[in-house]
Structure formats: structure tokens, C-alpha cells
């Protein structure tokens, strides 16, 4: 058990170190949601207020609405970025070194996942701080209550990244992940528009959005920010975490998964 914890600490620290050394990555991770918040939301001009839907108790501006979605965006992009680094690790050979450690593969992958999730969460809090400076405030306890939601959401999206990375042969293929996974996941969710708004334009679009696990992560974060629990969102996110994690473990299993085929 001690060995396992030492390994976890080392992997998490490696992630942290990598993050500290890439200051541009931190700025980029912060700038992306801020551009959405300050440019996109301002352009949306919902100054007259959005209709009330839970967990909101009254009318809100669009800026307030998209904050949880942008928190989810940070987790999503970071989860994928971390998977990109795994592909890189594999190409460089450091992955082989890591996987030779006398510890279970699932544990090593989970440690990697935890490391990247912690980094994502720090970025989310930095974003919430900037949003607060722009007068987009949330209930005080919401900043605390959102932590477990961010952790679970981060793990889920990180696990998805891990699973995908086991299927990607080369670094260049990551562009495909951007086009076919990240963007559809983000745009076909409740991050930018409420689901009832989606239903107004198309029922099919609404159903796709409702089935998207990212929608449930965003809703879990949204409710947690207002110190409320959305059990359905929790269930979906937890379920997706287990499925993606199992896929990742399977994908990284040299005996059965995609690794064998890659050689």
C-alpha cells in the first residue's frame, strides 16, 4: 500500500511539475473560458434575463448561466490535453518505463488521472476568481460545494481522455479527437444553452444533449455551485467515469487492449 501511495505521489507531482513548467498552458487554459465569458456572452445580449430553471431561483444574465459550462470546458480541454501528453509519453518511451512499475495498471492510470484532475481543478478556481472580479458571483458555500463535483467531472473527462489515448497511434491524430470528441461534446451540451432552449429548436438535438455525459457533468457543477445536488447528473457522471475508466484499463492492457495491436 505504501508503495502504491509513493507511486501516486510521484505521478501527481510529475503532473504538477509539468504544469508549473508550462506557464503558457495555464494562461491558455484560463484565457479560453474568459474569452467565452467576456466576448461570447457579451455578444449574446441576454440583458433582459434568462427564464428561471433549476437551480436558479430567479432571473439570471447569460454571463451567469455559462459559468458552470465554462468550468466544464476547462475540465474537458484539460482532460484531453492530458491524454495528448500520454500519447507523447508513449512515443518518447517514458510510458513504457512507467508501466513497468510493479503496481497494478489501473492504479497507475488512476494516479495519472488524479494528477491531471487536480491541475484542472486549480484552473477552474482561478477562472472562478476572475469571474468573481467581473462581478459574476455565486453563493459563498457554492465555491466549496463544487469541489467534489469538479473532482468527479474531472475524473470522468480524464478517464475519457485516457481511453481515447489508448486508441490513438500517433500525436498527429489528436486533431481528430478535437474535431470528433471535444467540440461535439462541448457544443452538444447544456454548457452554452439550457436544454429547454435546445428542445425549442429540435427535439433530436435536445435528446442528444441529454444523453451527452458532459451535459451531466456541467449540470452537476451548476447545481453544486448553488449548493444543490442533482442526483441524476451525479448518477450519469459516476456511471460514465466507471465506463471510461474500464475502457482505459482495457485499452492499456498489453494482453488484450489496443496496445497489443500497436506493438
Amino acid at each position: 500500500m505504501r508503495h502504491a501511495l509513493i507511486a501516486m505521489r510521484a505521478i501527481v507531482l510529475r503532473e504538477a511539475l509539468r504544469f508549473v513548467h508550462q506557464r503558457e498552458r495555464f494562461i491558455a487554459a484560463l484565457v479560453r473560458p474568459l474569452v467565452w465569458l467576456l466576448v461570447f456572452a457579451a455578444g449574446f445580449r441576454a440583458a433582459l434575463g434568462l427564464s428561471i430553471s433549476p437551480p436558479y431561483q430567479t432571473y439570471i444574465t447569460y454571463e451567469t448561466y455559462i459559468v458552470p459550462g465554462l468550468c466544464g470546458m476547462i475540465l474537458l480541454f484539460n482532460g484531453m490535453q492530458s491524454s495528448l501528453s500520454l500519447v507523447y509519453d508513449r512515443e518518447m518511451g517514458s510510458m513504457r518505463l512507467l508501466l513497468t512499475a510493479p503496481l497494478s495498471r489501473a492504479w497507475l492510470l488512476f494516479s495519472k488521472l488524479l494528477g491531471s484532475t487536480i491541475i484542472s481543478i486549480l484552473q477552474v478556481y482561478a477562472f472562478l476568481l476572475v469571474a468573481w472580479l467581473f462581478d459574476i458571483t455565486l453563493p459563498g458555500w457554492g465555491y466549496v460545494a463544487v469541489l467534489p463535483a469538479l473532482l468527479l467531472g474531472g475524473l470522468m473527462l480524464g478517464a475519457l481522455g485516457l481511453a481515447l489515448s489508448s486508441f490513438i497511434k500517433q500525436l498527429e491524430n489528436f486533431a481528430g479527437v478535437m474535431n470528433f470528441v471535444i467540440f461535439p461534446m462541448f457544443f452538444l451540451s447544456s454548457a452554452l444553452y439550457p436544454l429547454w432552449k435546445m428542445a425549442e429548436s429540435s427535439e433530436l438535438l435536445h435528446d442528444i444533449c441529454a444523453a451527452n455525459p458532459f451535459t451531466h457533468t456541467v449540470e452537476l457543477i451548476r447545481f453544486a455551485l448553488y449548493v444543490e445536488l442533482n442526483p441524476m447528473a451525479l448518477l450519469w457522471t459516476a456511471l460514465a467515469t466507471v465506463v471510461f475508466m474500464a475502457l482505459a484499463v482495457w485499452g492499456y492492457d498489453p494482453a488484450r487492449g489496443m496496445m497489443t495491436r500497436k506493438g
Binding site: R45, Q57, T58, Y59
Partner: protein, 322 residues
């Protein structure tokens, strides 16, 4: 043993119920009043009224509530405990707004269709006077010392100053287009009048009946035509005024010393009138189009909740229940 516990519990429950103050809201389209429990912020009672209830005010001792049932051409007097209409007062045609004189006896009623202000004695239930004013009178106010009553007329665009001793006009002052609401500051030195189409609030010096300031409103990303000041209320000590800005869905916070707008708060659709709770820490706004009441926390100037009421809520009044 169980009985005393049960009795204590029941008594405790009853006393809690009795402590919960209320906000009464008239629903113009539903012909009802929604009673909001301030503690739970929920509608606890819905009471039938005459047709198209708009203005609402309680007697000074809160023993009766007066309701302008505009399309029934009556001011209805209701027992707030039972919700029963006790009797109608003669009000003239289409009463829209009214104000109760500090003597707790005389009601000054604006009769929109007749261009008159009717003064009714609530004790003898008779019309004491009818005063010709401008076309489509609406806003009504009485000075804190009870000597002056004000009627604003929507089409004439004037505030009409009535001497309450002689029940005659002694001054008329022009305001911006379609004045809706008038209110004296508590010290009685200023009269504020909101102009819906003009988009302004004019402030008059009461001693000279001359305009001393005018407030304009401007909200980012909202067309000026939508910014239509209607009802407003003063905070404790008259330091700030909260102004309902109609279809702009915002309430403005105005500093009463500098006459500057300090804040805009997002509320429901077409905000019309407002009422404070007992200690003026919370403000309740009636939002006509969205059919709800938004609760504003006065200290933080943030909307904290919107409560669904009937269709087209119009007027609001506070009722203490202890």
C-alpha cells in the same frame, strides 16, 4: 403526558405562523390577490377580488385592506384575516390607484376614465369631493403632514397639487411623458414623479413646487425605449430609491442625495410596483408579464428569488401579522 407536548407544539406552530409577515399582490388578469409568506417566500393564500384589481393598500392599523377593482368600478374593502369583501366604497369610474390620507380616514382615488380625483370618507362611506384633474389620472400621493395630495395625469403629463383642506388644486407642474407614480420623501420636502414614456423621474421642491432635479436611466445592451420608470420606494432613512423600470426587467437603485443611479438589478418581465418587508431589508417587485414577484436583498442589491403568483401582478402591499 403526550397532550401537553402536543399543545405546546401546536401553540409553537401557531405562533410561528402568526409571526410570518406577508406581501399582498394584486393579479390584474386573474381577479385575485396572492398572499406571499415572507418567511417561506411562498404563496400561502389566493383570494378572489372584483374585476381587474390594481392599487392595494392597508389601513394604518391593518384591520382592513382597500383594493382598486378597476373594472368593477369600485374600491373594495376586505377583512385581511378572512379574505371576505366587507363592502364597496363609492369610488367613481375606473379607479386605478389611490392613497390613504395619514388621518387613516380619507382615500384619494384616481379615476382614470373620468379625469377626476375622488375623495372618499371611509367611515361614512361617502364621496367628500371630486376634483377635476388632467386626462387619465393615475399616480397618487399624500404628503407626510397630510396637507397636500398629488395626482399625476398620464395624458396631460402633469402633477396636480391638491390642498387637502379645501380639496382644490393650487398648482400644476409639467413632468415628462406619461407620469405613473408619485411619492413624497418622508421628511416631506421633496416630491418624486416617475414618467414612463419620458423615461425619467422628476424631483420637485415641495415648498416652491419647482423642479429641482431629473433622473435619467440607462442600462447596457437594453434599448432606451424599454427603460420605463413606474413604481418606486424609498429605503430606510430615504437614502436610496428603488425604481421599477417596466419592460427593461430591471430595478434601479438611486442615491437620493446625489440623484445618481448606483445599480441596476435584474428581475422578472415588466416590473411594475414594489413593496418592502417590515425592516426594509427585502424588496418585493411585481413582474406583470412573467407573472411573478422577485425578492431583492436590499443590502447586497441582488435578486434572490422569484415567486410565481397569478397572471399580471400589479400592486403590492406589506402586511405584518403579529
Amino acid at each position: 403526558m403526550k397532550l401537553p407536548i402536543l399543545t405546546t407544539l401546536t401553540a409553537a406552530l401557531l405562533s410561528t405562523t402568526a409571526l410570518a409577515d406577508e406581501i399582498w399582490v394584486t393579479n390584474e388578469k386573474d381577479d385575485t390577490i396572492s398572499v406571499i409568506d415572507i418567511e417561506t417566500m411562498e404563496v400561502v393564500r389566493t383570494i378572489e377580488t372584483g374585476e381587474r384589481p390594481r392599487g392595494i393598500t392597508f389601513s394604518k392599523d391593518y384591520s382592513v385592506v382597500y383594493i382598486c377593482a378597476s373594472d368593477s368600478d369600485a374600491v373594495q374593502v376586505m377583512d385581511p384575516n378572512t379574505g371576505k369583501i366587507l363592502y364597496d366604497l363609492p369610488s367613481g369610474e375606473d379607479p386605478e390607484q389611490f392613497v390613504l390620507h395619514p388621518d387613516n380616514r380619507h382615500l384619494y382615488i384616481a379615476n382614470e376614465d373620468d379625469a377626476i380625483t375622488t375623495v372618499v370618507d371611509t367611515q361614512t362611506r361617502t364621496v367628500v369631493a371630486q376634483i377635476d384633474v388632467g386626462i387619465e389620472p393615475e399616480g397618487m400621493a399624500v404628503s407626510p403632514d397630510g396637507k397636500i395630495a398629488i395626482t399625476t395625469s398620464e395624458t396631460t403629463n402633469m402633477a396636480h397639487w391638491i390642498d387637502t383642506e379645501t380639496q382644490t388644486l393650487f398648482a400644476n407642474t409639467l413632468v415628462d411623458s406619461r407620469p405613473r407614480h408619485a411619492e413624497f420623501t418622508k421628511d416631506g420636502t421633496e416630491l418624486w414623479v416617475s414618467a414612463e414614456i419620458g423615461g425619467t423621474i422628476s424631483i420637485f421642491d415641495v415648498a416652491t413646487q419647482t423642479e429641482k432635479a431629473k433622473i435619467d436611466f440607462e442600462i447596457d445592451n437594453i434599448h432606451p425605449d424599454r427603460v420605463q420608470p413606474v413604481g418606486f420606494e424609498f429605503t430606510n432613512g430615504d437614502t436610496h430609491a428603488f425604481v421599477a423600470l417596466g419592460p427593461s426587467n430591471h430595478v434601479a437603485v438611486v442615491n437620493t442625495e446625489t440623484y445618481e443611479v448606483e445599480d441596476y438589478i435584474l428581475v422578472g418581465r415588466r416590473v411594475w410596483h414594489l413593496a418592502f418587508n417590515r425592516d426594509r431589508t427585502q424588496l418585493f417587485t411585481t413582474n406583470g408579464v412573467s407573472g411573478d414577484v422577485t425578492v431583492i436583498d436590499v443590502a447586497s442589491r441582488k435578486a434572490i428569488k422569484s415567486i410565481k403568483v397569478g397572471r399580471f401582478p400589479w400592486g403590492a402591499a406589506f402586511r405584518p401579522t403579529e
